[in-house]
């Protein structure tokens, strides 16, 4: 662990929707500058909520950070305006492939840089196409007609156009063929290395996420129940049993077995 303050820090964050439904309970996590951090967990664990708490999008869903603190690059961004957060270089790629469906690929990319003043468009487009060469021949295509994999490339590319210091990625592999997802993860890792851009990655596909991350956090029912660096998580028996479907003897566990085991064993006692 370095002595530098982390790029992003969530400290004991509570999130409440509609004033009554508590989704995050004292969640804490940190993303060091330039690192890839995975946020894992089952459906409904609060991963997406954690990302939206960071990017300031909770308010549109009647959600609010009611306790705790979110710090980014030395500033307090708890419940801040999402536009101000993006302008600071923190960009979220939402889940559900939200391309601007009626605009072309090129227009989508350009829209990603809408707030930048020091903007050399050809150079920036070339930079993004360097990571996603497949987009080059699709530049004039209407984004709504792209395949799932192409859309996901476009979304990461659009976020890159903003030249973020931290990118929040929400389930990029959802609904993609395994090989396409694998390629996407490899590219994400390459972007992280080349740009020194930190990534907070929410994934259901724990194995794929653990392959590219430096650190990982596991959430359940709004709490962080496990965290550690990549090696520690890969070695953790619960992690292997619950999320990777493996036991220490490398034999695969059946779903039924895991579910049963998980029910008996309670995280945090």
């Amino acid at each position: 662990m370095s002595a530098d303050p982390p790029l992003l820090e969530l400290r004991n964050v509570d999130v409440v929707f509609n004033g009554v439904i508590q989704v995050l309970r004292g969640a804490s996590l940190t993303v060091p500058a330039g690192a890839v951090v995975a946020l894992l967990g089952a459906n409904g664990a609060g991963k997406t909520t954690a990302l939206r708490a960071v990017s300031g999008l909770l308010a549109t869903e009647q959600g609010r950070v009611t306790a705790g603190h979110i710090g980014y690059a030395g500033a307090d961004i708890t419940n801040a305006d999402p536009c101000a957060i993006v302008a600071r270089g923190l960009v979220q790629v939402l889940d559900g492939r939200r391309v601007l469906a009626h605009l072309s690929v090129a227009q989508n990319l350009r829209a990603g840089a809408h707030f930048r003043r020091d903007f050399d468009e050809p150079a920036e487009l070339a930079r993004v196409l360097g990571y996603f060469p497949a987009l080059e021949r699709l530049m004039r295509r209407t984004a709504g007609y792209l395949s799932g994999g192409e859309m996901q490339m476009l979304l990461v590319g659009r976020a890159l156009m903003a030249r973020p210091r931290l990118m929040l990625l929400d389930e990029p592999s959802m609904g993609l063929a395994p090989r396409i997802a694998q390629e996407l993860f490899a590219t994400i890792r390459r972007i992280n290395r080349a740009e020194g851009m930190a990534i907070l990655l929410v994934e259901q596909n724990a194995a794929a996420a653990l392959e590219i991350c430096d650190h990982g956090y596991v959430m359940e029912t709004g709490r962080v129940v496990l965290h550690g660096d990549r090696a520690a998580l890969l070695a953790n028996e619960d992690m292997r049993a619950f999320y990777l479907g493996l036991s220490l003897t490398q034999a695969r566990r059946s779903y039924r077995e895991v579910k049963h085991y998980k029910r008996r064993k309670r995280w945090l006692g």
């Binding site: 990017s55 999008l57 549109t60 999402p82 536009c83 957060i85 993006v86 302008a87 960009v91 979220q92 790629v93 939402l94 939200r98 601007l100 469906a101 009626h102 605009l103 227009q107 350009r110 829209a111 990603g112 809408h114 707030f115 659009r158 903003a162």
Partner: protein, 294 residues
């Protein structure tokens, strides 16, 4: 044959004015997802603002026209702030009811401020008719039509090729996505109402230039609603094209069907078309998706 062509040409020119009002619907709908039923009243206020600036205050037209455009745009912004922003997140039904209330309110306000009598409207555009071979073209409408087509192309370009336009286009697609990209939905909505108000005022100038101004001018808002629906509520270019379709249909109905039906057909035509559009293709010719039912 010449009569048919002449009727068609007249329909095209009138239709382009409808298209201009429809364009003001479209600009507002794209950003705010609001079909402003009171858009005709914005046209009316725009007309009275120009009358006040040019006729009552005696300002020269080069000053009165921008003043009226800015004033109507500003009214749009004020309406958004006072009426529609507090309703964000409410159902479409609530918002439509609010626009209907606004319609009555604005109509009353105009009557309160400017009275009920009709007034001569300043001649903003040159009048008279232009003879082109066997055809007569209304100079005002011709200029207005050219203006509408130019404006449509400029807006289309603006939405796709400028930063501000791309922001508005992103907001038109999806508010949540736009917000996640750091685009201020409020700012985009404000700009859209400013534009929508100014376009309504411009339509008033084309429609009324050199004619009589009275409360009935707001009626164009009702004809423009079917035009906007036919073109597709998200489509800038669709508005002008649908305007031409409705304009020509109305003109032909007026020339050939009205004599047989005591003049009933031409006023019905746009609305009959609207019902057909809603039944067969509710998103219009170039609209994006099935619109919400109210």
């Amino acid at each position: 044959m010449i009569e048919l062509a002449q009727t068609t040409i007249g329909g095209v020119l009138t239709g382009l004015v409808y298209g201009l009002v429809a364009l003001s619907f479209v600009v507002i709908y794209r950003a705010a997802r609001i079909v402003n039923v009171a858009q005709g009243q914005l046209v009316l206020v725009g007309a009275f603002l120009l009358w006040t600036a040019a006729s009552a205050l005696g300002l020269p037209l080069w000053l009165a026209v921008p003043a009226a455009l800015a004033g109507t745009g500003l009214l749009g912004v004020v309406l958004e702030r006072l009426v529609f922003r507090p309703l964000v997140g409410q159902s479409g039904f609530t918002i439509v009811l609010a626009t209907i209330a606004l319609l009555v309110l604005l109509q009353g306000l105009v009557q309160l401020l400017w009275g009920a009598e009709t007034r001569p409207f300043p001649a903003v555009l040159p009048s008279g008719s232009l003879h082109l071979g066997p055809f007569r073209l209304n100079r005002t409408l011709l200029l207005g039509g050219v203006l509408t087509v130019l404006l449509t192309e400029v807006l289309h370009w603006f939405f796709l090729h400028t930063r501000e336009g791309l922001r508005l286009a992103a907001v038109a697609e999806d508010h949540f996505t736009a917000l996640s990209m750091g685009i201020s939905v409020r700012r985009a909505t404000t700009i859209a109402w400013l534009l929508g108000g100014a376009l309504a005022c411009l339509a008033a100038m084309v429609l009324l230039s050199g004619r009589l101004l009275g409360a009935s001018a707001a009626g164009i808002g009702f004809v423009a609603l079917p035009v906007a629906l036919l073109g597709g509520l998200e489509s800038v270019r669709g508005a002008a094209l649908a305007g031409v379709i409705v304009g020509v249909g109305e003109a032909l109905a007026s020339a050939y069907l009205d004599p047989l039906t005591n003049g009933a057909m031409s006023p019905i035509f746009p609305f009959a078309l609207m019902v057909i559009v809603l039944l067969i293709r509710p998103q219009g010719l170039f609209g994006w998706r099935v619109i919400e039912r109210l």
